[in-house]
Symmetry: C2
Subunit: 399 residues, 2 copies
């Protein structure tokens, strides 16, 4: 077992040569660190022709943006690699492939996706990938169904719950999603102009009760092996391809959390579009987002139901009609979690480029306010929004 040390570019090339599974490993000659996150080193490894062939990703033992002051478990690299390996088993089309993983070095070697682009960036530029929402719905249906009680033997499910217990990464979500935005906290970040909107989040009884219930579900409902952070920045897209990456928040949680995070980021883009594109383009892109949301849910639901009908192994859960009833609850969870994503990305520590890169301050604040108000409404009325069509109608209402 190798001892942990931070990789240099030279280390990364040598490691990729050894573990990349390429036919001519000696062709790999150089590396470039391209990580834009704060938690990891990400090296692209190039061949003699300057073509990026493979990725070496290493977890850092601290949060990079604050130096070495915020330590963070290296075990998250194990959790990320094992989540991606498990998801790849069930959705190889839409999960990045892991070639090798070393827990002591907290390093993994994975498929290069240089021919893909981060979905969030494309959404911001107004580049439309009409298949992406359906593909993300399919990814979620296959990964979540096959790791759920519908499919796994109860012994195996319980072993997986234990394997994927992820206290430190879950704590980040528990704090950033469900605590910080609803109280005064130094991690929060929002313009002073929004103080009244943000202050109103702290004493709204219906809102705080609903947020407590969502947090409680996040803490206790071990329904499936979630990606745990499936926003549009964790998704690569290309012509007809979509691949999920960055699963270090993977754990057994409520299915609606993954679905709600995905939908929430489409809505954040919706909120930001008037600040990113001209009026006509923004209006067209907004319609695409609403259509994306409907397609994501319709595909997810349809594929999950088809899998449940064909492959459920639990005698009781296999009863015709149960999966559909369960997905009704998943949908309500998803709408609520979606609302918390809108709020925490507008008020909390971690914002999204869809809104933060808007140059005009007044417009940016208006978009943030829109996201906060929409998020608040969705959290409170989640139980009364029965379908994706109803959600879209509500979004238009709070537009």
């Amino acid at each position: 077992m190798s001892q942990y040390h931070t990789f240099t570019a030279h280390d990364a090339v040598a490691y990729a040569q050894q573990y990349g599974g390429l036919d001519n490993p000696s062709d790999l000659t150089s590396a470039q660190e391209v990580g834009d996150g704060n938690l990891n080193l990400v090296f692209k490894i190039f061949d003699t022709h300057g073509v990026s062939r493979i990725i070496v990703k290493q977890a850092l033992p601290y949060v990079r943006c604050v130096g070495e002051s915020w330590p963070l478990t290296l075990d998250r690299a194990r959790l990320e690699a094992q989540t991606l390996v498990e998801h790849y088993r069930h959705s190889p089309q839409h999960t990045v492939k892991i070639h090798h993983f070393d827990p002591a070095l907290a390093v993994m070697v994975m498929e290069d996706l240089s021919d893909h682009r981060i979905w969030r960036g494309e959404l911001i530029k107004g580049v439309y990938y009409p298949q992406a929402a359906r593909q993300l719905g399919r990814y979620l249906a296959h990964t979540l169904f096959h790791t759920s009680d519908f499919y796994l033997h109860p012994h195996e499910k319980k072993a997986r719950v234990a394997q994927f217990i992820n206290p430190e990464m879950c704590e980040i979500t528990e704090d950033l999603f469900f605590n910080d935005p609803y109280q005064i906290h130094e991690r929060n970040s929002y313009p002073a102009a929004l103080e009244a909107d943000v202050a109103a989040l702290r004493n709204d009884d219906a809102l705080k009760t609903a947020v407590a219930s969502l947090k409680h579900r996040f803490l206790s409902h071990a329904e499936a092996l979630l990606h745990g952070d499936i926003h549009s920045g964790s998704v690569f897209v290309a012509g007809n391809s979509l691949k999920a990456i960055d699963a270090e928040f993977g754990y057994y949680g409520p299915i609606g959390f993954d679905v709600g995070t995905a939908i929430g980021n489409l809505l954040l883009n919706y909120c930001g579009l008037p600040g990113q594109l001209g009026i006509r383009d923004a209006a067209a892109a907004r319609e695409q987002r609403l259509s994306d949301i409907q397609q994501l849910w319709t595909t997810f639901r349809g594929e999950f139901l088809a899998l449940a009908e064909a492959k459920s192994r639990d005698a009781a859960l296999a009863w015709p009609g149960y999966a559909s009833a369960f997905l009704g609850k998943v949908w309500q969870d998803a709408v609520g979690f979606c609302g918390t994503e809108l709020i925490r990305r507008s008020v909390g520590l971690s914002h999204v480029a869809d809104i933060d890169t808007i140059a005009d301050e007044a417009m940016r604040n208006e978009c943030l306010r829109h996201a906060i108000q929409l998020g608040k409404a969705l959290i409170v009325i989640a139980g009364r929004i029965d379908s994706a069509e109803e959600l879209v109608a509500r979004v238009r209402q709070y537009g």
Copy 2:
């Protein structure tokens, strides 16, 4: 570490001398095996005056009633001892005290409760312990609150979930509660006269969908460290005392399962009383059971809310009003799980003496039919029964 071997009475005495924590261990001189279960050896250890002083309980590696043909994990002794130790920390008044535990021998030394009686036997004889229901409510409130997300740090909660993963004992519940009674299965046991009532359980869409949902909650909702089998045969009572024993089904599950099992066994007694006592006594005892159910829930709810207000450590869950909203869901879970207990004890492998010891066959069958119909109704309408008063009204309606 000692190697597993089945204890003789002689072994049990020697073990109690060593680990019983008594002042004069050499006073312990004899043992009697009193286990009436099928899974364990239970020795009472007597002193020179013939007084029972301490209990030695050892898990058997098989189910005794079927010889050695049905192997069962010895790890259940660890789970039982650790569950009882944890519950004793939070409710010492109402949990049997564990003095010593050895995982390799699957043996524990525990408090002698010879001055107590099994509650079920007393209920059948019509002996009323007016404080018992309140005490059981208090036991459930304290043990479940202090092991829940309201009270535990999320890291500790997650570690406990892993510690108490209990695949083999949970599988018994998963099968006996949620599968067998709703299908043709060789483990089922009921009189031929009830064939039509039982057959009707197998194709009732609303019932099977609700049972699937209850099983799914049992499989995935890790809310608190449950006792897991808190029926009236797992409860010792005396003048003003109540003690829970036999926690080998302990695991992190939905709080409503423990509450529903407790209430379900009071209702099974209610169903059997006309066959156990004269008309006047049976009617009086039935009113006591309905009062017991209300007191159990009222006490549980009141104590849980008081603990939530005074001791919640989770910032979001501590919001005033959330605990009450959550207990509304717990109540609906409890009513549903209560219904599954009524059915599985009437149709499945394991029956209750409250009904099975009724001598008159026609009367016995009528009581079984009553339990089945009541159970079925409760499962299907659980979502519409808002309070213990409403439950009592429904019980009278299906009487």
